[in-house]
Homo-oligomer: 486 residues x 2
Amino acid sequence: MTATASPPAPSALFTDLYQLTMMQGYFAYGLHREEAVFDLYFRRPPFHGGFAVWAGLEPALDLLERLRFTGGDLAYLESLGLFRPDFLTALRGWKFTGRVTAFREGSVVFAHEPLLTVTAPLWEAQLVETALLNTLNFQTLVATKAARCVLAAEASPHGGQIVEFGARRAQGPNGAVSAARAAFVGGAVGTSNVEAGREFGLPLTGTHAHAWVESFPDELAAFRAYAALYPDSTTLLLDTVDTLRSGLPNALTVARELRAAGHELRGVRLDSGDLAYLSRRIRAALDTAGFPEVKIVASNDLSESVIASVIAEGGRVDVYGVGTQLATAGGEGGGALGGVFKLAQLGGVPKMKLTGDPAKSSLPGVKQVWRAVGEDGEYALDVLTLGGAPREGERVSDPTNPLRFSRLPGGLTWQNAREVVLEGGRRTGTPETLQQAQARARADLARLPEGTRRALNPHIYRVGLGDDVAGLRDRVAEALRAHTGA
Amino acid sequence: MTATASPPAPSALFTDLYQLTMMQGYFAYGLHREEAVFDLYFRRPPFHGGFAVWAGLEPALDLLERLRFTGGDLAYLESLGLFRPDFLTALRGWKFTGRVTAFREGSVVFAHEPLLTVTAPLWEAQLVETALLNTLNFQTLVATKAARCVLAAEASPHGGQIVEFGARRAQGPNGAVSAARAAFVGGAVGTSNVEAGREFGLPLTGTHAHAWVESFPDELAAFRAYAALYPDSTTLLLDTVDTLRSGLPNALTVARELRAAGHELRGVRLDSGDLAYLSRRIRAALDTAGFPEVKIVASNDLSESVIASVIAEGGRVDVYGVGTQLATAGGEGGGALGGVFKLAQLGGVPKMKLTGDPAKSSLPGVKQVWRAVGEDGEYALDVLTLGGAPREGERVSDPTNPLRFSRLPGGLTWQNAREVVLEGGRRTGTPETLQQAQARARADLARLPEGTRRALNPHIYRVGLGDDVAGLRDRVAEALRAHTGA
């Protein structure tokens, strides 16, 4: 949406109205500078899967560094008739001054663990809830979807890559650009979205559309015209008329002509029909004709389950162009990641939300996330504590069911899974590149127990509460109930 | 995402790479100024429903009026190494100069009919495909979801309203702002999204969060503090501790105190638990205590089916805050609308895409959409022709199955369903307001056969091809097959 290399500053008004009315309330009652600790986490991985790939951290940190109220913002707020002059004046110099502790982008993460913790004056932490959730929920959702598609594609004995093709079905231009970014973190190798290419330096990829073929007297003329212009980067779309009877023979003609002129056809694309059957037939025809290097690209409402099914039936697709289901991460239990942002401590006092629904209770206190690595190098489980690493023999309980617990075995190496990435409102280091995030996702996925990576009915990776966290939760809940008689 | 009243100009690079490589090809072969006609349509309504509410037209027209290549855009394209200097120079003065014929925003629309037709030089029409689809697919999806929620809520004998609460789960800031806009077109009465409020003048709505309650010594103190600040606009969230045992009695105390001070509590909000049961209990308690005007707001992963179920069980919710499922329109067959943009004519010659999949074939020729109104004022069916209104007795066939046809009865009044909304690259009139679009949606939904409005297993509203359209399609397909031997 921007014509410059750097995206526009985020608007401080991209928030829910109640964040602003509560901010004014904290200000009015002198609570706004109390040190608040909020945790961002989700309660279920998306797609009924076993993991999520954490994405969106760098854009979230950008937002925290750059957020300001402009004169136009304040004038609009004043027009609502809800805000007092002294509060609006106080917003004039407002900025985010807090700390952020978080998983680095591309990390594989799980339900119930704090992915990002904000420690900041209450009115700062409250305002940024909406924008942080919007950024991190969506990018984590799409990166996870991309990783699921990549895992499906790589299960083929012949390998396979994912490219993102979804701009036309994405949710707004900015949704499309963000989706292309997150898909790359999750392992996609490129995108068709030119704006995303510019904004994030992503590799661009593309073929041609049916309209190209229809704009020439016949398909062969259209193929020849495209190849003449792009002799080293042509991928021909085969199904405008009939994939096997027209598209394939015309593509072979052009492949031979290109070779005669010292070039090679890069690929062919299938966009309808039985992708497993057609890709087998086309692979055989290309190989027989002496074109084993020509790639087969497939599109047409792909998802990880369609990819798995194409491979199961012997399909020979090299590149999957995943559109709608990647850019919106809809379908198969997706569409949104239900991340939340909950107060865990205020002015040094642990806080929790109890509610009538135990699964929606929050965890009080300032928590650390520890990840255990087994002797085989695989990740074994994650444990939340109020401080140091868990100890062998320590009791660890299920976050939603206190009756389920076990004692920690030995032989585990514990890693503090998160870092302080922002302090005093500024990043603690230089932003990571998307290549770093993508590499981290790939490495982390490789260290997951295989059952946890499975797309269907995965093994649930264990996240447990250390004894100190569980004890604090029980004491705070008890005090809340006693105080209110509930 | 913008700090000014007017959104930033759309980037010409928000497009798929292949649109640009094809544009260069049309330019290189002298085809770029050929007059092209492209139709935008979808093949299935979202959510397995019977209709869609057309939304996003005004933003799409904005985009067409303002699209330009900036110096930065051209520099990025040059850096890709795919584009020739003469082409890049030609893009310098490029703008959209064509015509758009479309349904007005808020119209109820159906599968297989051209919702928007672009008539423009080929290279202009080709470029704008991605951005048009992105805008219109998503906004139509969300407006349709909103209408489905509104229809569900209004089925209650006590009525009910929808507000949009989904910014934190939406797909990017701009996805959230666009969703708030589209939800309003579909009948939502407000949004929590402040940026959307500013950008589109939408009514803002909000309550407070659990963190507010946790920031005070107890729930009653938190309720009193909020009500003291906003004595005429307070909605209290009841479930931080326990809805019935703590939230409700504390809210009643505050309602009495507000009244004693000359104010009235506006509402209470439920965010967990059995919404039907809790809302009945709370309605009864509020009524008994003399507060029949206090509204009950409910949230917590609502959708049209949850709303219908709350009502079926006697729930007494007045306002449904629909978040994730409205802002992303995920779930229940949603997540994306599969609108496409297909070449129908080029240089006066009808064009079509055949493919191996009959459901993915396109309709050649320049078509008009005629809507029939029955003597009862209800919409009866839509018919596509190549010119004037259909005639009594004319044969009308199913767009995907030529074997299904019937003869048009008499007693129908025919309306030309679309208008020329852009000519020579400029709007033909002043932009409509969102209130006009919302009113049109409401009026159009009221004229739909009741079975077509149904959320589950709806009656399929008939869209038929006039004899001229079907005949042209058959002739073009036949010629294509003959030419290629397919």
